[in-house]
Symmetry: C2
Subunit: 686 residues, 2 copies
């Protein structure tokens, strides 16, 4: 697999424009890290003042820097960056890291400055990271272009982040407990190289086994989804996205100027991408620590080994919350535990060795649990006690856990000397967590990853039986909110069932239409302002004769308005809403839920990116109450679930094939025991 | 307020039975903590071996211990505890702490041993803590009967826990970052002194401003709720309960032998008690740290002051999640910020001082935000950077925050030296959090506490218009599942509207009944096995004539069965379920939700403890979708919400007044525009 950022990690020489000899300046920090953190190629500080920094001669101009030089790190103030980038281009440098802030994140004027950088880059064929970033770090190359104080130890976690501060904070926190990293990529404003390039790079990197992504704006969400899909075919991806709520989105908007997407769209994108979304920074770190050291978790059957009941009970609650549970230990396993545990040990699950176990008890009991066929994974809890050295327990749990083909996580709860114990565990590839709650979360991530692997989302099936030319012809010249008849014709052309219908401008026309299509019919007032027709007495159901139609027309339709006359759908159907709109970041998004008035009150809805496969459509129904109603509950017959699946599948393709359609709502789609009918179509054309 | 545990914290002398000179024994740790952590009264080690420990003479028998001695700490193995307790009783000691495990938590035999302890205690008038506990700690008295290594500093947090390990872990973790405690109470198996006594003690303690409770079983949930209510009238209470899920409950069952309650009952109990429930250990500690150092948070309008955009965006997302939001800063506030912040600062909210603020910038900007009338509270975020000493920022944020009448929380994200910075913040009563996510949670707890204070739950109104003697008469002699007619009569006697109905054993009887009550009527098959009648074609609606009734009887009722004939409720009503059952821990629990087939599929339900006030009943409807449906959504008229409130209120009192009723379901209660009718009553008598 091609690594689009290869040269950033393996430049044959690096120039630092704006290098300073003043140790309180960031530019000094950059040079210091390049030198001190192991980069072995030539380093060329550039500063018009000349002189020498850290024993390196300072060049007064980038033009004077000798070969080889593949990468320029520009640490100059915002106003000087474009000129310096141009100088680099003339010098033949094709890769640059732009650290200055003061560009797109400041608004319109900054955006123009940023566009200028892109022009220069295009002119000279330069790829650049930033602006407003701290560059890259690779512990294996090694290279560190950042000014983050700590060089993390080698590990298997790759981190990509829109925020340099998040990179620094995560590295600082993780390093103290011995968690290693393979690569860090700080994207900043991603004016050129973006999150998709970074994911491709981390997918290609053999040292990276798991990727954490902190993302803010995703102006090209589809590129992100595609790159994430390529990555997750090889390794797990954990994503924390800021700006998912109104408040957070505002904070992001003022920070990077990027558009924040609705949370539903983001979650649908993660699902399509096979990525694991998390809610907080703690969760992001806890998740990648579990995945970095993982053995696969084959099932949700967990054993807890502990020396204290309370923390084990809390851990068990949290296992449940994350979709796992305490397994029933077999009599054989319990007998083996009796042989190796201290007297009084409760060998049910949790296995509670009470107050006095020694390290060797942990060794033996953990081995028994890992050998038990009924156990898929083990949470070890140790509450430090006077008589058992904490570090010894960490070491033995690490030693046993490291050799096991099943995951072991360890929570040491309270006690000083914990950081050393955590390092001991991590040195043996056993994830450490400060509480059983977080240990349960870590196991939960492993279980989620197993489930994601097992339910790989296939590419959507093609939709062959629709004549898209006909659909485009029906759309031609349309704009704004379509009248229901026009919408129904487009939906019918996509292969959905739509009851016969037509528009009538008079009572007689209405009666004639009804006679042609057969009774019973429904009459609906058509006026662009009537978004919710049932609010406004705009619908008259169950008309059985031409006279009833005429009378209803006279009563419901005002002068100058028209009526939609529609054959009634079979009675007794369930009202479902199927809809789609275009998310600013991730493109078309398809929705399904309980229809009618319930959709707004109950919010029983599910979302997926379009196009979606029939399998994904089934998955949508499985995650909401509607799916259970369709399957048939007491007193109600099962409905035609596959007809809803088909409608979702077709609406998904419609949004992909017809970009002018901004929104479509089928509300309700009446779902019978056999078949489903779109009786009201609202479509907005851009 | 009386402190039922006063003597445990202020004994005039303490005897330690089972004191050991071996430093690896827990009993040595107990004596060590008594001596080293400041207890100033006489300490009497007791051990048949005699001798001297830590310079104290060892008594060979408790009988020989001189006065004064108010408290005995018994650190002997389980088998010797009852005898030792009896010796203490004979010696006139009336307070004891029993540390040994091996009692009720082990099952039936242990339970019997524990009952023996209670017998001895009753005989001699002894109050005791435990068994299976670590005793008490008071930093002001001071006294420490535990063997936990650390003596926390003085503070305002009181902690009560069923698990000694949780006490130890929480103290260890909090002490490292300078969080102080007032009192710790370890309850163990609470065979005598229970959580309610502990809460009363902490309520009475003047040094305790906030209480954290870790609870497992609550065999007397009502006592807990009452004590918690007394406490929350004075100070906030945060509760973490283990055993809320099937898995956690199992872990608790094997740990303390206590019955674990359903999560809904626990949450209803917290609501009644005015307590703040939390999900994890981190949340428990984060919550009490916020509350311990709190100024009141008057509103949900928060400002974020930061030197990094990414963490601020994450913090803003989490504010939203916890019911708060970023406030719009006024032009005046923004102008004042421009004057005191570094150039380039974005003075919208979050206030982002970008990469280079010094400590004095934090001082000035924080002061501006605290002075701004639109701001209710401030989250300060600092991501350590080379040029600004982390500790300086912590100190100035602490200094400014300490003097403010609004809450300030501070997140320092990443960086070494963080623990010292956290101690500096805590020394100034400003809560420290390692990430903006947890800082937002801390503010959220303050906001939740404000909301709880504002919506104080009054005692339920009395229910005067029901003749309980008549209800008891209707219940007399009944057992098992009542037939719908009997249930309806009891419900009608409680003042709810029930359509006229009667039982018929033949078609003619059915027709005669229908004639008397008027048409239309419904006919329902009555057979004890028919729990869900609409499943089994057991209901025939809308019968308009005597002939239709006869025909329906013939078709639906099998030989030997009876039919319930019931006048139809007005058509067009909304189907609601109102129900109640008895929780093993918290007593009667009332439920309301969307009725009919929807209740099982949608689970749109709310719970409260009974009896409940009408205000609480309205609160139930406000938290679920049903409330919005009752209020009227487009196309549907508003229904009689107060009739549902009345039904909940009356069912609550019914459960309280009639303990033999185990369960009652009104499903559906048909709610019209005026009035509500219980058309199907299922009642189970114990």
């Amino acid at each position: 697999m091609h690594d689009p950022l290869w040269t950033f990690f393996h430049p044959r020489g690096v120039a630092v424009l704006g290098a300073s000899a003043n140790p309180t300046k960031l530019s000094y920090g950059v040079l210091h890290n390049l030198v001190a953190h192991g980069y072995s190629g030539p380093i060329y500080p550039v500063n018009p003042k000349g002189g020498e920094i850290m024993g390196l001669p300072v060049y007064t101009s980038i033009a004077d820097v000798p070969d080889p030089v593949d990468l320029a790190i520009i640490v100059l103030p915002a106003g000087q960056v474009a000129g310096a980038l141009e100088d680099c281009g003339r010098r033949g440098i094709r890769h640059a890291i732009l650290m200055a802030s003061g560009f797109g994140e400041l608004g319109r004027e900054g955006k123009a400055q940023e566009e200028r950088l892109c022009q220069v880059a295009r002119q000279y064929g330069i790829r650049f990271l930033g602006p407003n970033c701290v560059g890259v770090l690779d512990t294996y190359a090694p290279i560190d272009t950042t000014f983050i104080r700590t060089m993390p130890k080698r590990g298997s976690i790759g981190l990509v982040s829109h925020s340099g501060a998040v990179c620094g904070g995560v590295i600082d926190g993780a390093s103290g407990v011995g968690v290693g990293f393979s690569r860090i990529i700080s994207l900043g404003n991603q004016a050129d190289i973006d999150i998709a390039d970074a994911l491709d790079s981390l997918a290609a990197d053999p040292h990276t086994r798991v990727v954490a992504a902190y993302v803010e704006g995703l102006p090209n969400g589809c590129r992100f989804v595609e790159a994430a899909r390529r990555l997750t075919a090889r390794k797990p991806l954990v994503v924390l996205k800021a700006g998912r709520t109104p408040g957070g989105s505002r904070a992001v908007a003022s920070h990077t100027g990027a558009l924040a997407g609705a949370n539903e769209a983001f979650l649908a994108a993660c699902r399509r991408a096979g990525a694991i979304p998390v809610e907080t920074l703690e969760e992001m770190v806890d998740a990648v620590v579990a995945l970095a050291f993982r053995s696969p978790l084959a099932g949700p059957h967990i054993a807890i080994l502990t020396n204290a009941g309370g923390p084990a009970a809390i851990g068990a609650d949290q296992l449940d919350r994350h979709g796992m549970h305490l397994v029933d230990l077999s009599p054989q396993t319990q007998a083996r535990l009796q042989n190796v545990c201290p007297p009084g040990t409760m060998t049910g699950n949790p296995v509670d060795m009470l107050g006095g176990p020694q390290a060797e008890h942990y060794t033996a009991a953990l081995q028994v649990l890992l050998d038990a066929p009924e156990v898929d994974g083990v949470m070890v809890i140790f509450v430090p006690q006077a008589i058992t050295p904490l570090h010894d327990v960490a070491v033995v749990v690490g030693q046993v856990g490291e050799m096991a083909p099943k995951p072991v996580v360890c929570s040491i709860f309270g006690g000083s000397g914990i950081r050393a114990a955590a390092r001991a565990l991590h040195a043996h590839s056993v994830p450490y967590y400060p509480t059983p709650c977080r240990a349960a979360f870590g196991l939960g991530v492993l279980w989620k990853y197993t489930c994601i692997r097992e339910t790989h989302i296939p590419e959507p099936e093609p939709l062959a039986d629709v004549d898209w030319a006909q659909v485009h012809a029906l759309l031609a010249g349309k704009a704004g909110i379509l009248d229901p008849q026009a919408g129904a014709e487009i939906i019918a052309a996509c292969g959905l069932s739509v009851p016969p219908s037509g528009l009538a401008a008079s009572a007689d026309e209405a009666a004639a239409l009804a006679d042609r299509m057969g009774y019973p019919v429904v009459l609906k007032r058509v006026a662009p302002s009537l978004v919710h027709k049932s609010d406004a007495d705009g619908v008259v159901l169950g008309l059985q004769t031409a006279d009833e139609v005429r009378e209803a027309f006279a009563r419901a339709i005002r002068s100058g308005e028209r009526a939609l006359i529609q054959r009634m759908a079979p009675s007794g159907g369930l009202e479902v809403i199927v809809g789609a709109h275009r998310d600013a970041q991730f493109g078309p998004l398809v929705m399904v839920g309980l229809g009618g008035v319930y959709v707004e009150v109950l919010r029983d809805v599910a979302f997926r990116l379009a196009p979606l496969s029939r399998g994904e459509a089934r998955g949508m129904l499985e995650e909401i109450a509607l799916g259970r109603l369709l399957a048939g509950v007491r007193g109600l017959p099962p409905r035609d679930t596959e007809a809803v699946v088909d409608a979702l599948f077709r609406v998904g393709w419609l949004m992909v094939e017809c970009p002018p359609i901004a929104e479509v709502d089928l509300n309700p789609l009446i779902v019978g025991e056999r078949g489903a009918w779109a009786v009201d179509v609202r479509m907005v054309i851009r």
